[in-house]
């Protein structure tokens, strides 16, 4: 066992600068962005998208677009064409842009968004949920009765890119999160073709307890070292 512990392990996960990492994003990308409120947002990656690329026409899948975040700055730069998420009323600018047809918005209940991400990453293309049955959000969606209750058919979500925020990565690409900054991040890691992670710290392989790893490296493509503060 001790011999095995000393084994040098190489995975396909790449460790890049923020600028190199975001250069992998295609233009007009369908892109997931982690975070809830201001917590668990990959701020440095978003900053690199804003500052070092000309990318625009994004379709962004994220819970919301929080004022003050770099996701909001990306939006203010007119680079987000469509947003899929649960809550946009906290930003007056987003509401205004919606009214002026400068942004398209697709609203999902938060639990539907969560499960659509997890199942999107799990090869399950669609599922039935009780949430929103009989409401406006179920308009134009199929519904079906199971055991006497009505359920709505929801399609799972996948994307070309996910920008997520984790607390620590080991040098194989395994991830752990911190407190409520976990939120949508592990789900989005699973659901995108390219998952780019911003972390506070990169540790040696073997430093993360195998029981404790939340996102195994198999879901990770690129790791970027972010700021040193816990909130990136």
């Amino acid at each position: 066992m001790n011999d095995v512990r000393k084994e040098i392990i190489k995975t396909n996960v790449k460790f890049l600068s923020a600028e190199e990492a975001v250069s992998k994003i295609p233009n007009k990308a369908r892109m997931m962005v982690g975070g809830f409120g201001r917590t668990g947002i990959p701020e440095k990656l978003l900053e690199a998208v804003i500052e070092t690329t000309d990318l625009d026409g994004f379709t962004i899948i994220s819970n919301n677009i929080s004022e003050g975040s770099n996701l909001h700055h990306l939006f203010m730069g007119g680079r987000i064409k469509k947003a899929i998420g649960t809550y946009y009323t906290t930003s007056k600018e987003v509401v205004k842009a919606y009214r002026e047809n400068r942004i398209e918005i697709e609203l999902l209940p938060q639990g539907t968004l969560s499960e659509a991400l997890r199942l999107g990453g799990s090869g399950i293309p669609a599922f039935y949920t009780p949430t929103s049955a009989g409401t406006e959000l179920a308009n134009n969606k199929e519904s079906r009765v199971f055991n006497g209750r009505e359920y709505v058919l929801e399609e799972s979500l996948t994307a070309e890119v996910a920008l997520i925020k984790a607390y620590k990565a080991d040098k194989a690409g395994n991830l752990i999160y911190r407190k409520s900054a976990r939120n949508f991040n592990p789900l989005m890691a699973m659901a995108a073709d390219i998952t780019i992670v911003e972390v506070d710290e990169i540790v040696e392989v073997g430093k993360l307890d195998p029981e404790e790893i939340i996102t195994p490296f198999i879901f990770v493509d690129v790791v970027v070292k972010g700021g040193d503060t816990v909130n990136g």
Partner: protein, 226 residues
């Protein structure tokens, strides 16, 4: 505006429904319910991924990675756990929460609830409300009896966009407590300070008096509230 002490009464009365188990509290009056829960017996769930939400921290102890669903800094308790949004909503939708206390714009006598959108306005925010109402074992609506304009909130039928159909279990206002039993709205409690006639007048829905109906004295309860 509604007197803060009236809001506190509603929150206190809602807390009396919760003596044990796991509860998710919505924004507004429901948030205040936390102040009146029995210590150490009711656990709070926050949909962004916390089971066991503790009180607000002192400003110097705030942690930007530790917030509740209302985006306010919180603490955790000794038995807390963190998880992703998918497990958090599995708890809700899977019927594992004992109750949720939420506000409402309108509640119908069959248990329909409208709490997230107003007709004619842009519908740009729903959050976790629909999952909560669809999934919690008990949906307790804690709300003022009428709107600030004096319009009834407890109605024969909701006219605002629905959050869910037939999911409300209990309605708690500053004047009364209703339960929806076998699809029927039943008055189970009324404060002594309002007459049956006046209560009927400010309630849009029709209801029956429950067998276990009782009258309480609100002033007495309010004296004890912080």
């Amino acid at each position: 505006m509604v007197d803060i002490s009236i809001k506190r009464y509603i929150a206190w009365r809602a807390a009396q429904e919760l003596q044990t188990g796991v509860v998710n509290l919505g924004i507004g009056i429901p948030t205040m319910v936390a102040d009146y829960l029995p210590r150490g017996k009711v656990t709070l769930h926050s949909e962004n991924g916390i089971l066991g939400v503790g009180p607000s921290p002192a400003p110097e102890e705030e942690d930007p990675d530790l917030i509740n669903a209302g985006k306010a800094p919180v603490t955790i308790q000794p038995h807390s756990s963190f998880f992703d949004s998918s497990l958090s909503f599995a708890m809700m939708r899977g019927g594992h929460l004992d109750a949720t206390v939420i506000g409402a714009l309108q509640v119908a006598q069959n248990g329909d609830i409208a709490s997230w959108a107003i007709p004619g306005k842009d519908v740009l925010g729903v959050g976790g409300a629909m999952d909560l109402v669809a999934g919690a074992k008990r949906v307790i609506v804690a709300t003022t009896h009428v709107t600030p304009k004096g319009e009834a909130k407890i109605l024969p039928k909701c006219t605002y966009p629905l959050t869910a159909t037939k999911r409300v279990d209990t309605i708690i206002t500053e004047y009364a407590v209703f339960k929806i039993r076998q699809g029927k709205l039943m008055l189970v409690e009324k404060i002594d300070e309002i007459s049956f006639e006046d209560l009927l007048t400010i309630t849009g829905a029709s209801y029956q008096i429950a067998e276990d109906f009782r009258t309480v004295v609100r002033e007495q309860a309010m004296l004890e509230l912080v």
